[in-house]
Symmetry: C2
Subunit: 141 residues, 2 copies
DNA sequence: GTGGTTGCAAACCCTTTGCACGGCA
DNA sequence: TGCCGTGCAAAGGGTTTGCAACCAC
């Protein structure tokens, strides 16, 4: 995603455009594999060593609150970030700690239909997220 | 669960029985709602102020490794624990940070069938966990 | 101009670790 | 008795916070 589009994304959400914010968003997109805050920081520091750790954390939190990115958590303990905003599922491998987004409309419909017929007492559903745990084959990526 | 059964649970897993271990397991069971380590510690300290924080963390980790309990993670950042070992799903409410276990064999079969017919390229599935996000109705619990 | 942002460093919180003592088998 | 488990306190790692200087609007 070119910088211009990133700036517009920020503007569209009514947020000020600063070099740091552009850099953070760009970093998450280029890193792709649900990077940690640390990975984002390292990525940015390579070109722009002056950025502060605290700033990146503040920006990440701000973007999550404004719906530009999402938090993802595995069974390990560091927070990770995802640029994909639409509802989707995750493939996860314990061994490699790798996360991959998984989209499946057919599955979503199946689940929709299922829970249309079967209500859960005392609970109203807003979103359903699958964590599909398993192993990636080594040749992949 | 009476203390005697808890002791047997430990023995069955080839673990030594100590008062601290019994207390931790009992605490998680009585607290029910997927307690944090801190909640477990507070619960135990009410009766037995001498237990050490580090000890509880060591015991929790040990029990996870031995399959007596499970770690549960939300988008917030503290670890929580679950006594339910069998594969199951979670109902989760962001507002209250409440987690409830959800069992649904019919759903499990539906998913099994679905993924029997539809393989995911480059990935072999071991387990599927749903995080059903929504709201608990206020009357419930 | 001015109020939101940044950089910096210290503080924070949860969790882990090291080690000497103590207790289960 | 021997060794694992515990208590304690300090360290660790990731994240948050306070505040003065700064800059986008």
């Amino acid at each position: 995603m070119p910088p211009v589009e990133i700036r517009n994304t920020l503007k569209d959400h009514g947020l000020r455009v600063t070099p740091q914010r552009v850099a953070v968003l760009q970093a998450i997109m280029e890193l792709r594999d649900h990077p940690t805050a640390e990975q984002v920081i390292d990525f940015i520091k390579a070109k722009n060593p002056n950025i502060a750790v605290g700033t990146v954390y503040k920006i990440l939190e701000m973007m999550v609150e404004n719906g530009l990115i999402r938090k993802v958590k595995t069974d390990r303990d560091v927070m990770r970030y995802d640029t994909v905003i639409e509802s989707h599922h995750h493939l996860y491998c314990h061994d490699s700690d790798r996360i991959e987004d998984y989209f499946d409309e057919e599955l979503d419909h199946l689940l929709d239909d299922y829970f249309k017929g079967k209500k859960i007492p005392g609970f109203s559903i807003q979103d359903i997220k699958l964590q599909i745990v398993g192993k990636f084959s080594k040749t992949n990526k």
